[in-house]
């Protein structure tokens, strides 16, 4: 099923009426911010009637470090130590988009080789993040074995990041004009070996987790995102694709070298937690295939960095842009305003969690059994730091 729009002007966005807690019929319960079933440090303020959630409010702020304010006080190059911390499991998208926004305003074009290496970096990031997510979703439904497998393989990907960039998590590798270094000797062979093993792992995960009757019973029908919710709630990425929307920025608005890669946008139809989980498994497999294609296509020689001005005195011309990329959760964007000085005027980071974890989560939680709230939350794949920035 391919839908073109999910908009319905008749949708009711009204907030629920507050309940009378003194009636003794309801229980107020906080899920988080310290809870194994929560995605990062955020919390859900739940009101229960029996085991059923009748009201949910998302609370964020536990990780607020004022990233956007910090960026307005540092030089352009210094902000790379800030941006990568905005989405801990996926720092690469922040690096890439911050660099891409600066390049767009400055009119800088990164060399072809750097574009291939950046694409490789982003797909490795997607793979690492999806592996972490599969473990989280399994754990939320009691399948801890799968979590151990996937976190081990995520670490193998981080080993490769360490070879490629010198760091495991915060790489600061994609800088304006290109990347900091080319690929190390023998890297291609090692990553292809890991991809072969990852394929086998994903087959095992499908049998153990996705074919498991308990996982199916709990995830099917949970947190259904109806197509008419998609646009009004700003739903993007796998959450939208699992509801039938054929939308993927890598295809729709290609960046880097995605227009030279052979892949299709994967969609589902049911829009529930199981459909989202299965779609992400398929996209993990797709990411493995893309990495093989990128390795085959990356030029062995050539510059990996454009000529750049002195970073200590780099004055970016006055301008404004919005750049975006498809991260594992959908549209990730950087809106940037510059005023011709050595410091950025404004950066606004648009993360998919902003809508998925607040407006959407608060709606989907209503009517859910308390035992399934962790599974629902993980199924939306949210990261709190990109909400708070």
């Amino acid at each position: 099923m391919t839908l073109t729009t999910g908009h319905s002007a008749a949708l009711d966005f009204a907030q629920p009426e507050p309940v009378d807690l003194s009636s003794g019929k309801y229980v107020k319960l906080w899920q988080g911010p310290q809870h194994p079933g929560i995605t990062g440090n955020m919390s859900l303020e739940l009101t229960l009637e029996g085991d059923t959630i009748i009201e949910c409010k998302t609370h964020v702020g536990y990780l607020h470090r004022g990233f956007e304010k910090l960026m307005e006080q540092r030089s352009f190059i210094q902000n790379f130590t800030v941006v990568c911390r905005i989405a801990v499991p996926e720092p690469a998208f922040n690096e890439y988009l911050y660099a891409a926004a600066l390049e767009a305003i400055s009119g800088i074009e990164s060399p072809v080789r750097a574009q291939w290496i950046r694409t490789l970096n982003l797909e490795m990031m997607r793979l690492a993040s999806f592996l972490m997510w599969i473990g989280g979703q399994g754990g939320a439904f009691g399948q801890y074995t799968v979590a151990n497998w996937t976190l081990t393989y995520r670490d193998y990907v981080l080993d490769l990041f360490e070879e490629m960039t010198g760091a495991r998590i915060y790489h600061m590798y994609m800088v304006p004009g290109g990347v900091r270094a080319g690929l190390p000797a023998g890297f291609e062979k090692r990553i292809l070996e890991l991809m072969d093993n990852t394929d086998k792992l994903l087959d095992q995960i499908e049998r153990v987790m996705y074919d498991n009757v308990v996982f199916k019973a709990r995830a099917k029908g949970l947190g259904v995102i109806a197509p008419e919710l998609v646009d009004p709630y700003g739903v993007v990425g796998p959450n939208a694709r699992a509801s039938g929307f054929q939308r993927d920025l890598r295809k729709d608005e290609p960046y880097l070298v995605y227009d030279q890669l052979d892949f299709n946008v994967i969609t589902g139809s049911d829009g529930d937690a199981y459909e989202r989980a299965y779609l992400r498994l398929q996209e993990t497999r797709q990411s493995v295939k893309l990495i093989r294609q990128i390795i085959a296509g990356t030029p062995a020689d050539g510059p990996f960095q454009a000529n750049m001005p002195n970073m200590l005195h780099w004055k970016v011309p006055a301008g404004e842009t919005y750049v975006k990329a498809e991260c594992t959760r959908g549209e990730y964007g950087y809106y940037m305003v510059t005023d011709g000085t050595e410091i950025v005027r404004r950066v606004h980071v648009r993360g998919p969690s902003y809508t998925h974890a607040i407006a959407l989560m608060e709606r989907l939680a209503i009517g859910t059994n308390i035992a399934d709230i962790a599974g629902l939350m993980v199924s939306l794949h949210t990261y709190p730091p990109e909400i708070e920035r």
Binding site: T4, H7, L11, D252, L312, E320, H348, R350, T355, A359
Partner: protein
């Protein structure tokens, strides 16, 4: 796109149309026409996706510039709607009836810039900051160092460095940070 922009100029008094890239155009509209224009773009022109609402503080001009970034999935165009409002007693019409996530952005803008959106749900609830009693922190005149010093005081062994000077010292250690 040009037909649409011509119509917006004629019907809504849109000004300052700027093509930032082939896929991104920004335009400016008055505060009075802002909500109507955004509603029109959503309902009749296919801009069904609200990417975000953000604010830039142009303190030297005494204005906040609100940016409503809208996307049309069919034409793959982004339209950034600029609306300038006065910094003093800043207020803007709420669009919480157009998108479900709009009130979240408006709650954040209330907390971080002090902008009021009458009628927007849960506007007075904390977003990130609990018990904040100072100036909205994303305003340009909010002094982060002063706030930190007053709130947390001096701690033995704590050193504050001006980031750019510190970077020069790291890059040119033998010359004491002198890059000349």
């Amino acid at each position: 796109m040009s037909e649409l922009l011509d119509r917006l100029v004629r019907d809504f008094g849109v000004t300052e149309i700027t093509e930032r890239s082939p896929a991104i155009t920004t335009l400016k509209v008055s505060r009075e026409h802002g909500e109507c224009l955004i509603r029109e773009l959503r309902d009749r022109e296919g801009f069904t996706h609200l990417n975000f609402i953000a604010c830039t503080d142009w303190i030297e001009d005494g204005i906040f510039r609100l940016i409503y970034m809208l996307h049309n999935y069919a034409s793959r165009q982004n339209l950034g709607v600029h609306i300038d409002i006065e910094r003093d007693n800043a207020e803007m019409t709420s669009i919480h009836t157009l998108w479900a996530q709009a009130w979240t952005y408006q709650r954040e803008l209330r907390e971080m810039y002090g902008i009021n959106f009458p009628g927007s749900p849960r506007l007075e609830e904390n977003f990130c900051l609990e018990g904040w009693d100072d100036m909205p922190p994303m305003r340009r005149d909010f002094d982060t160092v002063k706030y930190s010093t007053e709130r947390f005081g001096h701690r033995e062994g704590r050193v504050s460095l001006e980031p750019r000077d510190h970077m020069k010292v790291l890059l040119y250690p033998n010359r004491g940070g002198d890059e000349s």
